[in-house]
Amino acid sequence: MTAVDTTVREAPVLPVDPFSHESILDPYPMHAQLRSAGPVAWLEKYGCFAVNGFEEVYEVLTDFETYCSSGGLGPKDIRKQTSWRPPSILESDPPTHTVMRRALTGVINPSSVRALRGPFTGPAEDLADAVVARGAIDAVRDLAEVYPLRVFPDAVGIPEEGREHLLPYGNMVFNAFGPENDIHREAFAHGEERSAAIMRNCARQNLSDSGFGARIWERAHEGLITPEQATLLVRALLSAGVDTTVFGIGNTLKVLSERPDAWAALRKNPHLAKFAVDEALRVESPFQKFHRTATVDAVLGGVHIPEGAKLLLFLGAANRDPRRWADGDRFDLERTAAGHVAFGMGLHQCVGQPIARLEIELVLQALLKRVERLEPTGEPVPILHNVLRGFESIPVRLVPATD
């Protein structure tokens, strides 16, 4: 909201379809269309508000009283219509959210994640050795999809059996944050079988004694959360922690493969890797969009929002909003990307953030040590996904370093 113009308008109505294949495969022209109508617009086709301005997205994320999560992250209001699965921490408000979040933060926090640096480093180095030996690789299939599955399920402590369901299950969970379109239907093929397999892995007796899963169950035994909530929290890790990180690694490598100058700068100064990851997550944000529900009449970006309305937040657009980021479409290693909303902001801000950052950084560090240049050998193929941004394939050649 500008200080000068305080008149409340009705939202401009837009015929834009953010879930068309075209918009999904290249979202940035669609963001420009949204932006030209203002920070908040009404999407005719979906009957919801599209929020693309950084300031407005930030406001919705931080004002969790006015814009609730218990209405679901998808287009339906799950307080009124039942959801396909029991609501997770993501789809809850205080005080239900509060105890679950306490339990999770008690388990996943800076010090517990520090302890993962050791066990997560070896697999990153091994994988880097293997891909560098091959030279020409697909950075998604050979690296981004492989690494999180090597380290993360062990950190949670789930059995080997059933791990093949993790990626497809995450695909279901996230696609359900968009409309029930062809992409959604495809993701839900074999849905019940997969959900059942994942839920089995969340039960205490199927978890190792040392992982995050067991530690979440300890909080249930202490009485902070119920056994049902413990199951749901383990499920939340399994659904929210794999696909996002796969895309986080892939997107970072895709951005860097297009910027040999940045790669060279990082080789000289590897401690800047953390900044490169942050900036890559800003320009190619893996979690692009999800919904909130207005609990009261509100005004956002000068636009009237009626109680009960669904708002679709465009995190990926907010992270490039020219009013917040100078030359926001450009990856700039010198930029301070801190403050971006790729991990959300406020109450529901990603619990797994330190784990995701650790995984992406370790892969990057391992490659920087061994690879002189990261050269694209073909066009990256974006994935058709309702809310996540990532690539099915990123063909690159790893030119080994001679030093």
Partner: protein
């Protein structure tokens, strides 16, 4: 760099609660004190080599005097006992200029939690929040009503709708579970008090948005915030430069000032983002992230808050 010091006169000594005296300090030449913000403290040089830090509880809008309140606690070096027994009206004292390790960040709403003498830094915060029309509440607990400095004045000035006094002998402890049970949007939580209370608050705030909790920790003697900050040097191994870290500056700020980039987030020792390798020297860890083993190993530190240990005047960092 030596901190700027001021010579002051103890204008008034007043008992404000059981075992708590308040000192009103003025400048001998009648000049005003430098401007300060809520949350600030001063170093008080009590004796040869004995310095203690006390939060300011006067009003930042009246710079004609400063006020501190000192709780008498038996600590080995007797800082607070010396203040209680030996400081009298008219006496001269040497203090530092005000510094702020506990700044009040602008927000729409505040929840203030004070335990015992932990009320001191909160007092000017309340004044700021009130005069800026912010929505705020204070919960103030102590062992008994007699130990609650400024309690009556606060209740009278702001009303029972804002100020809730909880003397433990008659009302039990502040029910933190219920006070912190329902996170509110755009609300920051400022807590100052004994470590047991702060631990409980930290645990409960894990259910709140990250970063909303700001605490001031009373170290060891529970006398004042932090131990004395000394300047020291930091050698940056990668860049080959040496930077002096003044007493009122963090390592993070000092290295950023010479153009070195370090990723940081909370800048308060809570998130672990600024973790930096220590190649030589002994850090004094002040963060809430490292495990005891990490602390002892001394190979990494959070440079947004931790400093060089007493007697170590140089740290070599992997930067």
């Amino acid at each position: 760099m030596i901190n700027e010091t001021l010579s002051v006169t103890v204008d008034r000594v007043e008992k404000v609660a059981t075992d708590v005296v308040s000192l009103v300090l003025t400048r001998p030449d009648g000049a005003h004190f430098p401007a300060w913000q809520p949350g600030s403290h001063i170093d008080v040089h009590i004796d040869e080599g004995l310095t203690r830090q006390y939060s300011l509880c006067s009003s930042p809008s009246d710079l004609s005097h400063l006020r501190i309140a000192v709780l008498k606690v038996p600590d080995s070096r007797g800082g607070s006992i010396a203040v209680h027994e030996r400081v009298s009206e008219g006496q001269r004292l040497i203090i530092s200029t005000p510094r702020n390790n506990f700044p009040l960040t602008d927000s729409r709403k505040y929840l203030f939690l004070a335990g015992g003498i932990g009320i001191t830094p909160i007092v000017p915060m309340l004044e700021w929040a009130e005069s800026h029309g912010r929505d705020w509440r204070l919960f103030y607990g102590a062992r008994d009503a007699g130990r609650m400095a400024f309690a009556e004045q606060l209740e009278q000035r702001y009303g029972t709708g804002r100020v809730t006094l909880v003397p433990e002998d008659s009302h039990g402890r502040v029910d933190l579970e219920s006070v912190l049970g329902l996170p509110r949007a755009h609300m920051l939580v400022y807590a100052c008090g004994p470590s047991g209370m702060l631990r409980a608050v930290e645990d409960l705030c894990m259910g709140w948005p990250p970063g909303v909790l700001k605490t001031e920790r009373f170290v060891a003697t529970e006398l004042g915030p932090g131990s004395t900050d000394q300047p020291f040097e930091v050698e940056l191994a990668r860049t080959g430069t040496t930077v002096t870290v003044p007493a009122d500056t963090t390592i993070l700020e000092a290295v950023e000032a010479v153009g070195v980039r370090v990723l940081s987030s909370c800048r308060h020792g809570l998130c672990g983002t600024c973790e930096t390798g220590v190649l030589a020297g002994m850090p004094e860890h002040r963060d809430a992230v490292l495990t005891d083993e990490d602390r002892e190993a001394g190979q990494v530190m959070m440079i947004c808050c931790s400093r060089a240990a007493a007697g170590c005047d140089r740290l070599t960092l992997d930067l």
